[in-house]
Subunit: 313 residues, 2 copies
Protein backbone atom coordinates (compact mmCIF):
# COMPACT_ATOMS: atom_id res chain seq x y z
CA UNK A 1 0.00 0.00 0.00
CA UNK A 2 1.27 3.48 -0.82
CA UNK A 3 2.35 5.67 2.09
CA UNK A 4 0.60 8.95 2.83
CA UNK A 5 2.27 12.33 3.22
CA UNK A 6 2.92 13.18 6.88
CA UNK A 7 1.74 16.73 6.43
CA UNK A 8 -0.82 18.27 4.11
CA UNK A 9 -2.03 21.79 3.42
CA UNK A 10 -5.65 22.81 3.09
CA UNK A 11 -5.60 25.95 1.01
CA UNK A 12 -8.68 27.95 1.94
CA UNK A 13 -10.28 29.27 -1.25
CA UNK A 14 -13.65 30.20 0.24
CA UNK A 15 -12.96 33.93 0.03
CA UNK A 16 -12.49 33.57 -3.73
CA UNK A 17 -14.15 30.41 -5.10
CA UNK A 18 -16.81 30.52 -2.43
CA UNK A 19 -17.78 34.18 -2.33
CA UNK A 20 -17.68 34.67 -6.10
CA UNK A 21 -20.70 32.34 -6.43
CA UNK A 22 -22.70 34.03 -3.71
CA UNK A 23 -24.76 37.15 -4.32
CA UNK A 24 -24.26 38.52 -0.82
CA UNK A 25 -21.36 40.94 -0.79
CA UNK A 26 -19.44 40.24 2.40
CA UNK A 27 -18.00 43.51 3.80
CA UNK A 28 -14.22 43.81 3.79
CA UNK A 29 -14.10 43.98 7.60
CA UNK A 30 -15.78 40.59 7.82
CA UNK A 31 -13.35 39.16 5.32
CA UNK A 32 -10.58 40.43 7.59
CA UNK A 33 -12.32 38.55 10.43
CA UNK A 34 -12.45 35.43 8.30
CA UNK A 35 -8.76 35.63 7.39
CA UNK A 36 -7.78 36.36 10.99
CA UNK A 37 -9.85 33.52 12.43
CA UNK A 38 -8.70 31.05 9.77
CA UNK A 39 -5.14 32.00 10.58
CA UNK A 40 -5.79 31.61 14.30
CA UNK A 41 -7.27 28.17 13.59
CA UNK A 42 -3.98 27.20 11.97
CA UNK A 43 -4.64 27.79 8.26
CA UNK A 44 -1.46 29.04 6.57
CA UNK A 45 -2.48 29.31 2.91
CA UNK A 46 -5.45 31.42 1.85
CA UNK A 47 -6.62 32.51 -1.58
CA UNK A 48 -8.08 35.86 -0.63
CA UNK A 49 -9.65 36.97 -3.90
CA UNK A 50 -9.33 37.50 -7.59
CA UNK A 51 -7.93 40.38 -9.65
CA UNK A 52 -10.78 40.61 -12.11
CA UNK A 53 -12.70 43.78 -13.04
CA UNK A 54 -14.97 44.81 -10.15
CA UNK A 55 -17.93 45.15 -12.51
CA UNK A 56 -17.66 41.38 -13.25
CA UNK A 57 -17.28 40.24 -9.65
CA UNK A 58 -18.19 43.04 -7.23
CA UNK A 59 -17.98 40.47 -4.39
CA UNK A 60 -14.20 40.39 -4.87
CA UNK A 61 -13.54 44.08 -5.52
CA UNK A 62 -11.55 44.44 -2.27
CA UNK A 63 -8.89 41.85 -3.18
CA UNK A 64 -5.97 44.30 -2.97
CA UNK A 65 -6.99 45.31 0.57
CA UNK A 66 -7.30 41.68 1.56
CA UNK A 67 -3.83 40.85 0.26
CA UNK A 68 -2.43 43.78 2.21
CA UNK A 69 -4.17 42.66 5.40
CA UNK A 70 -3.30 38.98 4.98
CA UNK A 71 0.36 39.86 4.40
CA UNK A 72 0.50 41.29 7.95
CA UNK A 73 -0.03 37.81 9.43
CA UNK A 74 3.38 36.15 9.89
CA UNK A 75 3.89 33.01 7.84
CA UNK A 76 0.59 33.26 5.97
CA UNK A 77 1.00 32.37 2.30
CA UNK A 78 -1.38 34.63 0.38
CA UNK A 79 -2.64 33.76 -3.06
CA UNK A 80 -4.99 35.36 -5.56
CA UNK A 81 -6.55 34.29 -8.81
CA UNK A 82 -5.58 36.24 -11.92
CA UNK A 83 -7.22 35.70 -15.30
CA UNK A 84 -4.77 37.73 -17.40
CA UNK A 85 -1.64 39.90 -17.48
CA UNK A 86 -3.45 42.89 -16.06
CA UNK A 87 -4.50 40.84 -13.04
CA UNK A 88 -0.97 39.47 -12.73
CA UNK A 89 0.42 43.01 -12.62
CA UNK A 90 -1.87 43.79 -9.70
CA UNK A 91 -0.84 40.57 -7.92
CA UNK A 92 2.80 41.55 -8.35
CA UNK A 93 2.09 45.11 -7.18
CA UNK A 94 0.34 43.91 -4.02
CA UNK A 95 3.11 41.38 -3.36
CA UNK A 96 0.81 38.37 -3.20
CA UNK A 97 2.84 35.23 -2.55
CA UNK A 98 1.21 33.35 -5.41
CA UNK A 99 -1.05 34.04 -8.35
CA UNK A 100 -3.18 31.25 -9.74
CA UNK A 101 -3.89 31.37 -13.48
CA UNK A 102 -6.81 29.20 -14.55
CA UNK A 103 -6.55 27.23 -17.78
CA UNK A 104 -9.45 25.07 -18.88
CA UNK A 105 -8.47 21.77 -20.51
CA UNK A 106 -11.90 21.73 -22.16
CA UNK A 107 -11.64 24.02 -25.17
CA UNK A 108 -15.39 24.65 -25.09
CA UNK A 109 -15.31 25.58 -21.39
CA UNK A 110 -12.22 27.70 -21.96
CA UNK A 111 -13.95 29.73 -24.64
CA UNK A 112 -17.19 30.04 -22.69
CA UNK A 113 -15.59 30.85 -19.36
CA UNK A 114 -12.24 32.49 -20.04
CA UNK A 115 -12.92 33.75 -23.60
CA UNK A 116 -9.53 32.37 -24.60
CA UNK A 117 -8.23 29.09 -25.98
CA UNK A 118 -5.98 27.04 -23.69
CA UNK A 119 -3.05 27.96 -25.93
CA UNK A 120 -3.81 31.65 -25.45
CA UNK A 121 -3.74 31.12 -21.68
CA UNK A 122 -0.35 29.45 -21.97
CA UNK A 123 0.92 32.43 -23.98
CA UNK A 124 -0.46 34.79 -21.31
CA UNK A 125 1.40 32.84 -18.62
CA UNK A 126 4.63 33.40 -20.56
CA UNK A 127 3.89 37.14 -20.54
CA UNK A 128 3.13 37.03 -16.79
CA UNK A 129 6.39 35.26 -16.16
CA UNK A 130 8.28 37.89 -18.13
CA UNK A 131 6.51 40.68 -16.23
CA UNK A 132 7.14 38.98 -12.91
CA UNK A 133 10.84 38.45 -13.63
CA UNK A 134 11.28 41.98 -15.00
CA UNK A 135 9.76 43.44 -11.83
CA UNK A 136 12.05 41.48 -9.54
CA UNK A 137 8.91 40.21 -7.77
CA UNK A 138 8.83 36.89 -5.90
CA UNK A 139 5.14 36.23 -6.57
CA UNK A 140 4.89 32.61 -7.68
CA UNK A 141 2.86 31.62 -10.72
CA UNK A 142 0.59 28.57 -10.49
CA UNK A 143 -1.09 27.24 -13.61
CA UNK A 144 -4.36 25.65 -12.54
CA UNK A 145 -5.76 23.21 -15.09
CA UNK A 146 -9.55 23.06 -14.76
CA UNK A 147 -12.24 20.78 -16.24
CA UNK A 148 -9.50 18.15 -16.03
CA UNK A 149 -11.94 15.26 -15.58
CA UNK A 150 -14.64 16.26 -18.01
CA UNK A 151 -16.81 19.22 -18.83
CA UNK A 152 -20.53 19.92 -18.78
CA UNK A 153 -20.27 21.66 -22.17
CA UNK A 154 -17.74 19.60 -24.09
CA UNK A 155 -18.23 16.26 -22.34
CA UNK A 156 -15.09 14.13 -22.22
CA UNK A 157 -11.70 15.72 -21.69
CA UNK A 158 -8.71 13.65 -22.76
CA UNK A 159 -6.22 13.20 -19.87
CA UNK A 160 -3.49 13.54 -22.51
CA UNK A 161 -4.70 17.10 -23.13
CA UNK A 162 -4.45 17.88 -19.42
CA UNK A 163 -0.89 16.59 -19.30
CA UNK A 164 0.04 18.43 -22.49
CA UNK A 165 -1.24 21.73 -21.06
CA UNK A 166 0.61 21.00 -17.83
CA UNK A 167 3.88 20.65 -19.72
CA UNK A 168 3.10 23.76 -21.75
CA UNK A 169 2.42 25.79 -18.58
CA UNK A 170 5.70 24.68 -17.06
CA UNK A 171 7.53 25.47 -20.30
CA UNK A 172 5.91 28.92 -20.35
CA UNK A 173 7.31 29.63 -16.90
CA UNK A 174 4.71 28.53 -14.35
CA UNK A 175 6.43 27.75 -11.04
CA UNK A 176 3.67 25.41 -9.95
CA UNK A 177 0.80 23.53 -11.58
CA UNK A 178 -2.41 22.13 -10.16
CA UNK A 179 -5.43 20.17 -11.37
CA UNK A 180 -9.07 21.05 -10.75
CA UNK A 181 -12.26 19.06 -11.17
CA UNK A 182 -14.18 22.23 -11.98
CA UNK A 183 -17.56 20.57 -12.59
CA UNK A 184 -17.48 17.64 -10.15
CA UNK A 185 -16.92 14.84 -12.65
CA UNK A 186 -13.87 13.21 -11.04
CA UNK A 187 -13.87 9.81 -9.39
CA UNK A 188 -11.01 8.42 -7.32
CA UNK A 189 -9.62 6.02 -9.94
CA UNK A 190 -9.43 8.77 -12.52
CA UNK A 191 -7.75 11.02 -9.95
CA UNK A 192 -5.19 8.37 -9.08
CA UNK A 193 -4.35 7.76 -12.74
CA UNK A 194 -4.11 11.39 -13.75
CA UNK A 195 -2.28 12.57 -10.63
CA UNK A 196 0.31 9.80 -10.97
CA UNK A 197 1.03 10.89 -14.53
CA UNK A 198 1.09 14.56 -13.54
CA UNK A 199 3.67 13.83 -10.85
CA UNK A 200 5.88 12.18 -13.47
CA UNK A 201 5.70 15.32 -15.60
CA UNK A 202 5.91 18.01 -12.94
CA UNK A 203 7.32 16.33 -9.82
CA UNK A 204 6.98 18.52 -6.76
CA UNK A 205 5.87 21.41 -8.96
CA UNK A 206 2.52 19.61 -9.29
CA UNK A 207 1.37 20.54 -5.88
CA UNK A 208 -2.37 20.99 -5.52
CA UNK A 209 -5.69 19.27 -6.21
CA UNK A 210 -9.03 21.10 -6.36
CA UNK A 211 -12.12 18.92 -6.05
CA UNK A 212 -15.80 19.70 -6.06
CA UNK A 213 -18.21 17.60 -4.05
CA UNK A 214 -20.96 17.77 -6.66
CA UNK A 215 -21.44 13.99 -6.65
CA UNK A 216 -20.19 13.33 -3.13
CA UNK A 217 -16.72 12.21 -4.19
CA UNK A 218 -14.48 15.11 -3.12
CA UNK A 219 -13.02 13.35 -0.09
CA UNK A 220 -12.57 10.01 -1.86
CA UNK A 221 -10.74 11.97 -4.56
CA UNK A 222 -8.49 13.61 -1.98
CA UNK A 223 -7.70 10.19 -0.55
CA UNK A 224 -6.74 8.89 -4.00
CA UNK A 225 -4.60 11.99 -4.61
CA UNK A 226 -2.81 11.58 -1.27
CA UNK A 227 -1.71 8.15 -2.41
CA UNK A 228 0.11 9.77 -5.33
CA UNK A 229 2.01 12.05 -2.95
CA UNK A 230 0.06 15.25 -3.56
CA UNK A 231 -0.39 16.99 -0.23
CA UNK A 232 -2.14 20.29 -0.89
CA UNK A 233 -5.85 20.69 -1.53
CA UNK A 234 -8.15 23.60 -2.16
CA UNK A 235 -11.27 23.65 -0.04
CA UNK A 236 -13.84 26.16 1.17
CA UNK A 237 -15.27 26.60 4.61
CA UNK A 238 -18.78 25.08 4.68
CA UNK A 239 -18.18 23.89 1.11
CA UNK A 240 -19.42 27.18 -0.32
CA UNK A 241 -19.03 27.96 -3.98
CA UNK A 242 -18.30 25.92 -7.04
CA UNK A 243 -17.98 26.98 -10.65
CA UNK A 244 -20.75 29.42 -11.59
CA UNK A 245 -20.10 28.72 -15.29
CA UNK A 246 -20.85 24.99 -15.13
CA UNK A 247 -24.59 24.31 -14.84
CA UNK A 248 -25.42 21.96 -11.97
CA UNK A 249 -21.98 22.20 -10.44
CA UNK A 250 -22.03 23.18 -6.80
CA UNK A 251 -20.05 22.72 -3.64
CA UNK A 252 -16.34 22.69 -3.12
CA UNK A 253 -14.76 20.18 -0.79
CA UNK A 254 -15.55 21.49 2.70
CA UNK A 255 -12.46 22.65 4.60
CA UNK A 256 -13.68 21.35 7.93
CA UNK A 257 -14.64 17.87 6.62
CA UNK A 258 -11.32 17.62 4.84
CA UNK A 259 -9.46 18.73 7.96
CA UNK A 260 -11.26 16.03 9.92
CA UNK A 261 -10.45 13.30 7.40
CA UNK A 262 -6.79 14.26 7.33
CA UNK A 263 -6.60 14.44 11.13
CA UNK A 264 -8.23 11.02 11.36
CA UNK A 265 -5.60 9.71 8.95
CA UNK A 266 -2.85 11.07 11.17
CA UNK A 267 -1.85 13.65 8.55
CA UNK A 268 -0.88 16.93 10.16
CA UNK A 269 -2.55 20.04 8.75
CA UNK A 270 -1.85 22.33 11.69
CA UNK A 271 -5.58 23.06 11.88
CA UNK A 272 -7.49 23.28 15.14
CA UNK A 273 -10.80 21.80 13.99
CA UNK A 274 -12.98 23.11 16.84
CA UNK A 275 -11.64 26.62 16.09
CA UNK A 276 -12.44 26.11 12.40
CA UNK A 277 -15.97 25.00 13.32
CA UNK A 278 -16.38 28.17 15.38
CA UNK A 279 -15.39 30.23 12.35
CA UNK A 280 -17.87 28.24 10.27
CA UNK A 281 -20.61 29.18 12.71
CA UNK A 282 -19.71 32.84 12.19
CA UNK A 283 -19.74 32.37 8.42
CA UNK A 284 -23.22 30.88 8.70
CA UNK A 285 -24.36 34.15 10.31
CA UNK A 286 -22.56 36.28 7.73
CA UNK A 287 -24.11 34.30 4.88
CA UNK A 288 -27.54 33.99 6.42
CA UNK A 289 -29.87 32.32 3.92
CA UNK A 290 -27.12 30.80 1.75
CA UNK A 291 -26.81 27.02 1.42
CA UNK A 292 -23.92 25.72 3.49
CA UNK A 293 -22.54 22.21 3.16
CA UNK A 294 -20.34 19.80 5.03
CA UNK A 295 -21.16 16.88 7.30
CA UNK A 296 -18.94 17.56 10.30
CA UNK A 297 -20.76 20.70 11.37
CA UNK A 298 -23.99 18.69 11.61
CA UNK A 299 -22.57 15.55 13.21
CA UNK A 300 -19.95 17.13 15.44
CA UNK A 301 -16.56 15.67 16.23
CA UNK A 302 -16.43 12.08 17.49
CA UNK A 303 -16.05 11.67 21.25
CA UNK A 304 -12.73 10.01 20.41
CA UNK A 305 -11.35 13.07 18.63
CA UNK A 306 -8.11 14.37 20.07
CA UNK A 307 -6.61 17.52 18.67
CA UNK A 308 -2.98 17.15 17.68
CA UNK A 309 -2.71 20.60 16.17
CA UNK A 310 0.04 22.84 17.48
CA UNK A 311 -1.43 26.28 17.07
CA UNK A 312 0.68 29.41 17.17
CA UNK A 313 -2.24 31.76 17.58
Amino acid sequence: MPAFPQRAVIREVGLRDGLQSIRTIVPTERKFDWIRDAYAAGQREIEVGSFVPARLLPQLADTAELVAYAKTLPGLFVSVLVPNLKGAERAIETQADLMLVPLSASRAHSLANLRKTPEEVVAEVARMRAARDASGSRTMIEGGIGTAFGCTIQGRVDPADVLRYMQALLDAGADRVSIADTVGYAGPSAVRDLFEKARVIAGERFWCGHFHDTRGLALANVYAALETGVARFDATLAGIGGCPHAPGASGNASSEDLAFMLADMGIDTGIDIPALLNLRAKLARWLDGETLRGALALAGLPVTYESTAAIEA
Copy 2:
Protein backbone atom coordinates in the same frame (compact mmCIF):
# COMPACT_ATOMS: atom_id res chain seq x y z
CA MET B 1 -0.69 1.06 -6.42
CA PRO B 2 -3.06 -1.72 -5.35
CA ALA B 3 -5.45 -3.07 -8.00
CA PHE B 4 -9.20 -2.81 -7.56
CA PRO B 5 -11.71 -5.67 -7.79
CA GLN B 6 -13.26 -5.92 -11.25
CA ARG B 7 -16.71 -6.47 -9.83
CA ALA B 8 -18.36 -5.32 -6.61
CA VAL B 9 -21.70 -5.88 -4.96
CA ILE B 10 -23.84 -3.17 -3.41
CA ARG B 11 -26.00 -4.94 -0.88
CA GLU B 12 -29.17 -2.91 -0.48
CA VAL B 13 -30.00 -2.64 3.21
CA GLY B 14 -32.50 0.20 2.98
CA LEU B 15 -35.47 -2.03 3.69
CA ARG B 16 -33.89 -2.99 7.01
CA ASP B 17 -31.30 -0.44 8.17
CA GLY B 18 -33.16 2.36 6.45
CA LEU B 19 -36.77 1.69 7.33
CA GLN B 20 -36.08 0.69 10.94
CA SER B 21 -35.02 4.28 11.67
CA ILE B 22 -38.05 5.84 10.02
CA ARG B 23 -41.39 6.21 11.77
CA THR B 24 -43.44 5.84 8.59
CA ILE B 25 -44.52 2.23 8.19
CA VAL B 26 -44.14 1.44 4.50
CA PRO B 27 -46.92 -0.97 3.37
CA THR B 28 -45.78 -4.45 2.36
CA GLU B 29 -46.99 -3.94 -1.22
CA ARG B 30 -44.68 -0.95 -1.58
CA LYS B 31 -41.79 -2.94 -0.19
CA PHE B 32 -42.55 -5.50 -2.90
CA ASP B 33 -42.34 -2.64 -5.42
CA TRP B 34 -39.01 -1.58 -3.96
CA ILE B 35 -37.57 -5.10 -4.14
CA ARG B 36 -38.91 -5.62 -7.67
CA ASP B 37 -37.57 -2.29 -8.96
CA ALA B 38 -34.19 -2.76 -7.24
CA TYR B 39 -33.96 -6.16 -8.87
CA ALA B 40 -34.93 -4.74 -12.24
CA ALA B 41 -32.23 -2.08 -11.79
CA GLY B 42 -29.69 -4.87 -11.40
CA GLN B 43 -29.37 -5.24 -7.62
CA ARG B 44 -28.82 -8.89 -6.72
CA GLU B 45 -28.38 -8.78 -2.93
CA ILE B 46 -31.02 -7.27 -0.69
CA GLU B 47 -31.43 -7.32 3.09
CA VAL B 48 -35.21 -7.29 3.25
CA GLY B 49 -35.82 -7.00 6.98
CA SER B 50 -35.09 -8.21 10.46
CA PHE B 51 -36.51 -11.04 12.53
CA VAL B 52 -37.04 -9.08 15.70
CA PRO B 53 -40.27 -8.90 17.72
CA ALA B 54 -42.86 -6.80 15.87
CA ARG B 55 -43.56 -4.78 19.02
CA LEU B 56 -39.94 -3.54 18.91
CA LEU B 57 -39.84 -2.72 15.20
CA PRO B 58 -43.35 -2.67 13.73
CA GLN B 59 -41.83 -1.22 10.52
CA LEU B 60 -40.22 -4.61 9.85
CA ALA B 61 -43.06 -6.90 10.95
CA ASP B 62 -43.57 -8.20 7.41
CA THR B 63 -40.06 -9.62 7.01
CA ALA B 64 -41.22 -13.22 6.41
CA GLU B 65 -43.51 -12.10 3.59
CA LEU B 66 -40.69 -10.07 2.06
CA VAL B 67 -38.31 -13.03 2.13
CA ALA B 68 -40.96 -15.17 0.43
CA TYR B 69 -41.53 -12.55 -2.26
CA ALA B 70 -37.83 -11.82 -2.82
CA LYS B 71 -37.11 -15.53 -3.17
CA THR B 72 -39.34 -15.63 -6.27
CA LEU B 73 -36.88 -13.39 -8.16
CA PRO B 74 -34.31 -15.61 -9.88
CA GLY B 75 -30.75 -15.09 -8.70
CA LEU B 76 -31.64 -12.63 -5.95
CA PHE B 77 -29.63 -13.28 -2.79
CA VAL B 78 -31.93 -12.51 0.12
CA SER B 79 -30.64 -11.65 3.56
CA VAL B 80 -32.19 -10.74 6.88
CA LEU B 81 -30.87 -9.51 10.19
CA VAL B 82 -31.35 -11.77 13.20
CA PRO B 83 -30.49 -10.72 16.76
CA ASN B 84 -30.77 -14.16 18.38
CA LEU B 85 -31.49 -17.87 17.99
CA LYS B 86 -35.22 -17.30 17.74
CA GLY B 87 -34.69 -14.94 14.82
CA ALA B 88 -32.28 -17.41 13.24
CA GLU B 89 -34.91 -20.12 13.40
CA ARG B 90 -37.29 -17.88 11.46
CA ALA B 91 -34.60 -17.08 8.90
CA ILE B 92 -34.00 -20.81 8.42
CA GLU B 93 -37.74 -21.48 8.20
CA THR B 94 -38.23 -18.83 5.51
CA GLN B 95 -35.16 -20.06 3.62
CA ALA B 96 -33.41 -16.72 3.56
CA ASP B 97 -30.07 -17.03 1.78
CA LEU B 98 -28.18 -15.33 4.57
CA MET B 99 -28.74 -14.17 8.11
CA LEU B 100 -26.67 -11.35 9.51
CA VAL B 101 -25.95 -11.49 13.23
CA PRO B 102 -24.79 -8.17 14.69
CA LEU B 103 -22.02 -8.15 17.27
CA SER B 104 -20.85 -4.89 18.75
CA ALA B 105 -17.12 -4.63 19.38
CA SER B 106 -17.85 -1.91 21.92
CA ARG B 107 -18.91 -3.65 25.09
CA ALA B 108 -20.86 -0.60 26.23
CA HIS B 109 -22.72 -0.39 22.90
CA SER B 110 -23.30 -4.13 22.93
CA LEU B 111 -24.95 -3.98 26.33
CA ALA B 112 -26.99 -0.88 25.50
CA ASN B 113 -28.08 -2.02 22.05
CA LEU B 114 -28.10 -5.82 22.04
CA ARG B 115 -28.43 -6.43 25.81
CA LYS B 116 -25.67 -9.00 25.50
CA THR B 117 -21.90 -8.99 25.83
CA PRO B 118 -19.92 -9.67 22.63
CA GLU B 119 -19.01 -13.09 24.06
CA GLU B 120 -22.69 -13.91 24.52
CA VAL B 121 -23.30 -13.04 20.87
CA VAL B 122 -20.48 -15.38 19.84
CA ALA B 123 -22.07 -18.15 21.92
CA GLU B 124 -25.44 -17.44 20.27
CA VAL B 125 -23.80 -17.75 16.82
CA ALA B 126 -22.57 -21.20 17.82
CA ARG B 127 -26.15 -22.16 18.72
CA MET B 128 -27.42 -20.73 15.41
CA ARG B 129 -24.84 -22.72 13.52
CA ALA B 130 -25.89 -25.90 15.33
CA ALA B 131 -29.57 -25.19 14.58
CA ARG B 132 -28.80 -24.39 10.95
CA ASP B 133 -26.76 -27.57 10.47
CA ALA B 134 -29.32 -29.72 12.30
CA SER B 135 -32.09 -28.42 10.03
CA GLY B 136 -30.18 -29.17 6.84
CA SER B 137 -30.72 -25.50 5.87
CA ARG B 138 -28.36 -23.68 3.52
CA THR B 139 -28.95 -20.25 5.09
CA MET B 140 -25.52 -18.70 5.49
CA ILE B 141 -24.49 -17.03 8.74
CA GLU B 142 -22.70 -13.69 8.62
CA GLY B 143 -21.23 -12.23 11.78
CA GLY B 144 -21.34 -8.45 11.43
CA ILE B 145 -18.97 -6.64 13.77
CA GLY B 146 -20.30 -3.18 14.54
CA THR B 147 -18.85 -0.09 16.26
CA ALA B 148 -15.59 -1.34 14.78
CA PHE B 149 -14.03 2.12 14.51
CA GLY B 150 -15.22 3.62 17.77
CA CYS B 151 -18.39 4.14 19.74
CA THR B 152 -20.40 7.11 20.88
CA ILE B 153 -20.85 5.51 24.31
CA GLN B 154 -17.54 3.80 25.00
CA GLY B 155 -15.27 6.00 22.88
CA ARG B 156 -12.27 4.15 21.47
CA VAL B 157 -12.59 0.57 20.28
CA ASP B 158 -9.36 -1.38 20.02
CA PRO B 159 -8.87 -2.84 16.50
CA ALA B 160 -7.40 -5.89 18.26
CA ASP B 161 -10.82 -6.47 19.86
CA VAL B 162 -12.50 -6.32 16.45
CA LEU B 163 -10.09 -8.90 15.06
CA ARG B 164 -10.44 -11.10 18.14
CA TYR B 165 -14.24 -11.11 17.78
CA MET B 166 -13.87 -11.83 14.08
CA GLN B 167 -11.80 -14.91 14.84
CA ALA B 168 -14.26 -15.95 17.56
CA LEU B 169 -17.23 -15.62 15.18
CA LEU B 170 -15.48 -17.77 12.58
CA ASP B 171 -14.55 -20.33 15.24
CA ALA B 172 -18.18 -20.37 16.41
CA GLY B 173 -19.32 -21.28 12.91
CA ALA B 174 -20.03 -18.03 11.05
CA ASP B 175 -19.67 -18.60 7.30
CA ARG B 176 -18.91 -14.94 6.62
CA VAL B 177 -17.84 -11.92 8.62
CA SER B 178 -18.19 -8.22 7.97
CA ILE B 179 -17.23 -4.94 9.59
CA ALA B 180 -19.52 -1.99 10.24
CA ASP B 181 -18.82 1.61 11.19
CA THR B 182 -22.08 1.80 13.10
CA VAL B 183 -21.66 5.37 14.33
CA GLY B 184 -19.76 7.01 11.47
CA TYR B 185 -16.35 7.26 13.14
CA ALA B 186 -14.26 5.56 10.44
CA GLY B 187 -11.75 7.31 8.24
CA PRO B 188 -10.07 5.77 5.21
CA SER B 189 -6.67 5.09 6.81
CA ALA B 190 -8.29 3.26 9.69
CA VAL B 191 -10.40 1.30 7.21
CA ARG B 192 -7.38 0.32 5.16
CA ASP B 193 -5.46 -0.82 8.24
CA LEU B 194 -8.29 -2.79 9.81
CA PHE B 195 -9.56 -4.33 6.57
CA GLU B 196 -6.05 -5.50 5.61
CA LYS B 197 -5.71 -7.26 8.95
CA ALA B 198 -9.23 -8.70 8.71
CA ARG B 199 -8.42 -10.16 5.29
CA VAL B 200 -5.40 -11.90 6.79
CA ILE B 201 -7.62 -13.49 9.45
CA ALA B 202 -10.70 -14.34 7.39
CA GLY B 203 -9.59 -14.29 3.74
CA GLU B 204 -12.55 -14.36 1.37
CA ARG B 205 -14.88 -15.01 4.31
CA PHE B 206 -14.42 -11.34 5.23
CA TRP B 207 -16.65 -10.07 2.53
CA CYS B 208 -18.54 -6.90 3.38
CA GLY B 209 -18.03 -3.37 4.67
CA HIS B 210 -20.83 -1.23 6.11
CA PHE B 211 -20.13 2.50 6.30
CA HIS B 212 -22.16 5.41 7.51
CA ASP B 213 -21.77 8.82 5.94
CA THR B 214 -22.16 10.69 9.22
CA ARG B 215 -19.00 12.73 8.66
CA GLY B 216 -18.99 12.56 4.86
CA LEU B 217 -16.42 9.77 4.63
CA ALA B 218 -18.47 6.76 3.53
CA LEU B 219 -17.26 6.79 -0.07
CA ALA B 220 -13.63 7.49 0.84
CA ASN B 221 -13.90 4.53 3.21
CA VAL B 222 -15.28 2.33 0.44
CA TYR B 223 -12.38 3.36 -1.77
CA ALA B 224 -9.88 2.42 0.94
CA ALA B 225 -11.65 -0.91 1.48
CA LEU B 226 -11.60 -1.70 -2.25
CA GLU B 227 -7.83 -1.42 -2.13
CA THR B 228 -7.75 -4.28 0.37
CA GLY B 229 -9.77 -6.48 -1.98
CA VAL B 230 -13.14 -6.24 -0.22
CA ALA B 231 -15.80 -5.95 -2.90
CA ARG B 232 -19.17 -5.94 -1.15
CA PHE B 233 -20.70 -2.94 0.59
CA ASP B 234 -23.92 -2.28 2.39
CA ALA B 235 -25.74 0.85 1.31
CA THR B 236 -29.25 2.28 1.40
CA LEU B 237 -31.18 4.00 -1.34
CA ALA B 238 -31.13 7.76 -0.67
CA GLY B 239 -28.82 7.07 2.27
CA ILE B 240 -31.76 6.50 4.61
CA GLY B 241 -31.24 5.12 8.09
CA GLY B 242 -28.27 4.81 10.37
CA CYS B 243 -28.03 3.42 13.87
CA PRO B 244 -30.92 4.63 16.03
CA HIS B 245 -28.99 3.68 19.17
CA ALA B 246 -26.04 5.97 18.50
CA PRO B 247 -26.90 9.62 19.17
CA GLY B 248 -25.93 11.87 16.28
CA ALA B 249 -25.32 9.01 13.87
CA SER B 250 -27.26 9.32 10.68
CA GLY B 251 -27.09 8.36 7.07
CA ASN B 252 -25.86 5.16 5.50
CA ALA B 253 -23.74 5.26 2.37
CA SER B 254 -26.18 6.06 -0.41
CA SER B 255 -26.63 3.19 -2.88
CA GLU B 256 -26.89 5.46 -5.90
CA ASP B 257 -23.81 7.55 -5.03
CA LEU B 258 -21.84 4.38 -4.37
CA ALA B 259 -23.05 2.84 -7.64
CA PHE B 260 -21.88 5.96 -9.45
CA MET B 261 -18.44 5.95 -7.85
CA LEU B 262 -17.92 2.28 -8.66
CA ALA B 263 -19.12 2.74 -12.25
CA ASP B 264 -16.76 5.70 -12.63
CA MET B 265 -13.94 3.49 -11.39
CA GLY B 266 -14.77 0.88 -14.02
CA ILE B 267 -15.93 -1.58 -11.36
CA ASP B 268 -18.94 -3.56 -12.53
CA THR B 269 -21.90 -3.67 -10.13
CA GLY B 270 -24.54 -4.74 -12.66
CA ILE B 271 -26.58 -1.70 -11.62
CA ASP B 272 -28.43 0.51 -14.10
CA ILE B 273 -27.99 3.86 -12.34
CA PRO B 274 -30.79 5.76 -14.14
CA ALA B 275 -33.17 2.93 -13.15
CA LEU B 276 -31.96 3.16 -9.56
CA LEU B 277 -32.52 6.93 -9.60
CA ASN B 278 -36.07 6.31 -10.83
CA LEU B 279 -36.65 4.00 -7.88
CA ARG B 280 -35.21 6.65 -5.60
CA ALA B 281 -37.76 9.13 -6.91
CA LYS B 282 -40.52 6.66 -6.00
CA LEU B 283 -39.02 6.18 -2.54
CA ALA B 284 -39.05 9.96 -2.08
CA ARG B 285 -42.83 9.87 -2.64
CA TRP B 286 -43.33 6.89 -0.34
CA LEU B 287 -41.31 8.57 2.42
CA ASP B 288 -42.74 12.03 1.91
CA GLY B 289 -41.39 14.33 4.63
CA GLU B 290 -38.41 12.16 5.56
CA THR B 291 -34.84 13.43 5.07
CA LEU B 292 -33.23 11.81 2.06
CA ARG B 293 -29.52 12.03 1.30
CA GLY B 294 -27.14 11.46 -1.55
CA ALA B 295 -25.50 13.87 -3.97
CA LEU B 296 -26.16 12.16 -7.31
CA ALA B 297 -29.91 12.63 -7.20
CA LEU B 298 -29.39 16.40 -6.85
CA ALA B 299 -26.55 16.79 -9.35
CA GLY B 300 -27.64 14.21 -11.91
CA LEU B 301 -25.33 12.00 -13.91
CA PRO B 302 -22.47 13.67 -15.81
CA VAL B 303 -23.07 14.22 -19.52
CA THR B 304 -20.14 11.84 -20.02
CA TYR B 305 -21.83 8.98 -18.17
CA GLU B 306 -22.19 5.83 -20.22
CA SER B 307 -24.01 2.89 -18.73
CA THR B 308 -22.04 -0.34 -18.91
CA ALA B 309 -24.57 -2.35 -16.94
CA ALA B 310 -25.90 -5.49 -18.57
CA ILE B 311 -29.36 -5.78 -17.10
CA GLU B 312 -31.33 -8.98 -17.21
CA ALA B 313 -34.62 -7.37 -16.29
